[in-house]
Symmetry: C2
Subunit: 383 residues, 2 copies
């Protein structure tokens, strides 16, 4: 159930004193091989943090031996000094593990515009390297938590190989993979280009469709490391399917722990002309603060669904749209259908199904409601 579920990996989570208060804040995941193939996808935000700038260089050759992740600071917009901090962290990990710093990915999370303490990061690298074990996955998953209330881990077993993973993120979840750090590991023997293809296919329909609050982070990174320790080279389609399952598992854990959320909302758009349009419609609803506030109040306000649908360029007849909430069709062909009172929104899970009757494509976007606690946590969060 962790990044050490797959053979060939060791991990650790230690306290480096980076964050306010106590607790682990530095995680290290090491690929012992025999293979060191890797792939990564990054935030699409153009304002990116130093660890993103660094990691984009490291991943170019498809070879990664270790990934270090810290909470306590995003190391974003911290200037040249900030980049040196990231570089120094990679060098420290490289020294400890006797590998090249150029094979070490770095991830950071926390407040933008604050310098991290290099000495503490280097100390964290030393401590973490000493603490590495083949059962350290959960310790690593704990060390990357910020406002997460629990560690997020997943695991799937394929035909002779395993995929495991961990994730952190409890807000700013948006299509650019916002404030989300994910490490996926497998003992399958897969080359870097195929890992890249599989990872992009899996994230496209999972993390990219998780849109908790529409805000895209500067630090998001999803990394996939393959040790080849199983000796098995899976069928690419099977591998992608299993990887997608792990990603969806983690994505829904992130949704379930989104900051201050009271409801997990799955918004499915059917009958769209294309998958892209289905995503656009679902995402427009997912980003409607009015709709999200209504769900917080257990109010099946389907008018706010249609008002959001109407802001998109998707193909539809405005008077040919059906809307169902938790299985009750409240709007049929643009007219009131079943009474809204029949919709019970008291459970955490909420389903919205929009049928555009304009084609055969469908897609789901996952979001959360807009709550008092969301406002509170995000107005108080400066640490």
């Amino acid at each position: 159930m962790s990044v050490t579920a797959a053979a060939g990996f060791e991990a650790a989570g230690v306290e480096a004193g980076l964050r306010t208060g106590s607790g682990p804040d530095f995680a290290l995941v090491v690929n012992r091989g025999p293979s060191a193939a890797a792939a990564a996808v990054f935030t699409r935000n153009r304002c990116t943090a130093n660890p993103i700038i660094w990691s984009k260089q490291v991943i170019r050759d498809g070879v990664v031996s270790a990934i270090a992740l810290n909470s306590g600071g995003a190391n974003c917009y911290t200037g040249m000094l900030g980049f040196q901090v990231t570089h120094a962290t990679a060098e420290a990990v490289g020294r400890e593990l006797d590998i090249s710093a150029g094979d070490v990915l770095i991830c950071s999370t926390g407040l933008i515009g604050e310098q991290l303490n290099t000495a503490r990061l280097v100390d964290g690298a030393t401590k973490a390297a000493a603490a590495l074990t083949a059962s350290g996955g959960t310790a690593a998953a704990r060390a990357i938590m910020t406002t997460d209330t629990h560690p997020k881990q997943a695991e799937r077993r394929g035909d002779g190989y395993t995929i495991g993973g961990m994730a952190k993120g409890a807000g700013m979840l948006a299509p650019g993979l916002a404030t989300m750090l994910v490490v996926l590991t497998t003992d399958a023997d897969v080359e870097a280009p195929q890992l890249d293809t599989a990872l992009r296919a899996a994230t496209r329909v999972t993390f990219d469709r998780l849109d908790s609050d529409g805000c895209m982070s500067t630090n998001d990174q999803v990394t996939l490391l393959a040790s080849g320790a199983s000796g098995v080279t899976p069928d690419p389609a099977d591998f992608t399917r299993l990887l997608t399952e792990v990603c969806l598992d983690l994505a829904l854990q992130l949704q379930g722990d989104a900051e201050g959320a009271g409801h997990d909302i799955a918004i499915e758009t059917r009958g769209a002309r294309s998958e892209e349009e289905a995503v656009a419609v679902s995402r427009a609803v997912a980003r409607s603060n009015l709709f999200k506030a209504a769900v917080f109040g257990n109010d099946p306000n389907w008018g706010r669904v249609l008002a959001a649908v109407g802001t998109t360029d998707a193909a539809f007849d405005p008077f040919g749209i059906d809307v169902a909430m938790n299985g009750v069709r409240v709007c049929q062909a643009g007219q009131p259908d079943q009474p809204r009172d029949l919709v019970d929104l008291t459970d955490r899970a909420v389903s919205v199904v929009i049928d555009l009757h304009a084609g055969g494509a469908a897609a789901t976007v996952w979001t959360n409601d807009l709550t008092h606690d969301y406002v509170h946590e995000n107005s108080a969060y400066s640490s």
Copy 2:
């Protein structure tokens, strides 16, 4: 200070029993001429209410003699019956005033998907027609209030002519003029095509840049009626300038009364390659829930400003951006500048200035913070 400030207009606001509880809910503004020239702009939402569908037909010939506005229901997604309700209201107004129903604009606001009571609307038309006076502007402005805490009115005097106006709206304020009803009146003698040009120019830089919560309504309408009673035909540029002043006055009143808001935030982007890009950058920040929640907490979290800027396609060097909040430059060329502690956000008015250093264009978008009260009002609002 109202829609009856300009000569040639009468107005009334009466109680038609449309809304829950008591209070005026039906407004009527009549243009007594001699001219009946008019222009209107509508929500860009593709899911539009019946009064919008009706009014778009009425405005085609540029002739409008009266506009009736009701709260208590949006008359949106109410099917053919809903359209008949709008039609019947226009017919009732026409009968009372001895004018064509085809010269009567209709505006409605309230919950989507609920039928309005035709008999009560017709009764409202009768009552309002009987109550029309040349000093009825404020009564009309009160009758269109929903969650507004006070009526919004404005007036400017030009060279021999006057422009007055009223507005309602306290949420769902977005580029499509969301849940915003505005009636502007003038006694200038201006033909409909010139009114249209002036109105589009004025709304483009005022109401279209008010983005309280990113949600676009199905019912927005801004109407400009010209009686010609002053006999003055103003210089087009002067008229547009004065009209823009009235629109900005009303827009900032709407911002100041946005549902649950604690801060009025002006987000100016300078140094943009084009005005469109300046608007896009300012709007991206205005739609960041994380930024808005931070302002609610008086937290000058400029990292959230940059994270929003980075989601746009505007021309900029990510490490060439300056950000100032309330006059304190907290970020210079992508690095921390003045300490964020120097920024005092306790006042209601907040200024954010982003300099992209990529050109000579600038634009301001006005928004509000994201507060507990916003969540509360919009989770409880079903009436």
